[in-house]
Symmetry: C2
């Protein structure tokens, strides 16, 4: 007979990939998201503005994919941002169904300021994350995203 105690079963959550991804995303974003809110924007609004810095004038559906926001939700966010003067909406002359979204001068000024802040924040995160490791994490994440989006992993 064996008197020794069993090794405790290891916990599930802290070793689960989807938890690690969500926790890493949250932890890494916390500080900058607080900064965004201090500037009077909610995080989804900041995401819209960051996307528009890259692709000003894109249509709502494109923006929804790029910013990872569901379409009807994005529509409502954009309407609010329009009201606040951060973006303007114009229907596409070539296709009346499409609504193209543009940064206003005011919106662009804020967006550029925040993108600059975001770059600094990112550099601080990466450089504090011991030399070189920092570079690799972005590559790893890009590879993971590419793998997940392309392969579709057997259409379960």
């Amino acid at each position: 007979m064996n008197n020794s105690v069993d090794a405790p079963t290891p916990p599930f959550v802290p070793n689960y990939l989807l938890y690690l991804l969500a926790a890493a995303s949250e932890a890494a974003s916390e500080r900058f998201h607080a900064h965004v809110r201090s500037k009077g924007l909610r995080v989804p609004e900041w995401r819209v503005m960051a996307c528009l810095i890259d692709t000003d004038g894109s249509m709502v559906t494109e923006l929804a994919r790029y910013a990872m926001i569901e379409q009807s939700r994005l529509t409502k966010i954009i309407i609010q941002m329009d009201t606040r003067g951060l973006v303007s909406r114009r229907s596409d002359p070539k296709d009346g169904r499409r609504v193209r979204v543009f940064l206003t001068p005011q919106g662009r000024a804020l967006a550029e300021e925040l993108v600059a802040d975001a770059r600094i924040d990112e550099q601080e995160l990466l450089k504090s994350f011991q030399g070189g490791q920092g570079d690799h994490i972005k590559d790893t994440l890009r590879a993971l995203i590419w793998h997940l989006e392309s392969g579709d992993l057997k259409q379960g």
Copy 2:
């Protein structure tokens, strides 16, 4: 004079660490989260159950940290889950302020089923992600989380 066109400015968003983390989390979770919903649970409810598999009987505040859900929101989720018979709430006899949350037998059965499914899903993700790379990503994420939570990166 130089006739050559400038190289286009590289886009910000697709190379931004916080975007990569959020996008990786979303892409990796999509399939399993759909599975969770097909079982009649919303994602935050699944998170609560997964946490309780590890730490049944924990108090609301602990659970909130572990499941990354804000406290007052968690309270409401737990009340719903209690009503549905997935968990039960008992006030701690040692400290009347605390509410300890337990899986019911029915809740535990569902939680165990989903944890098993989650393990399978995770294995499929990792093994499809070319040999060995899979292992490393979890280590990288753990390191990042540990770094972010411990260091606090200068108290900006």
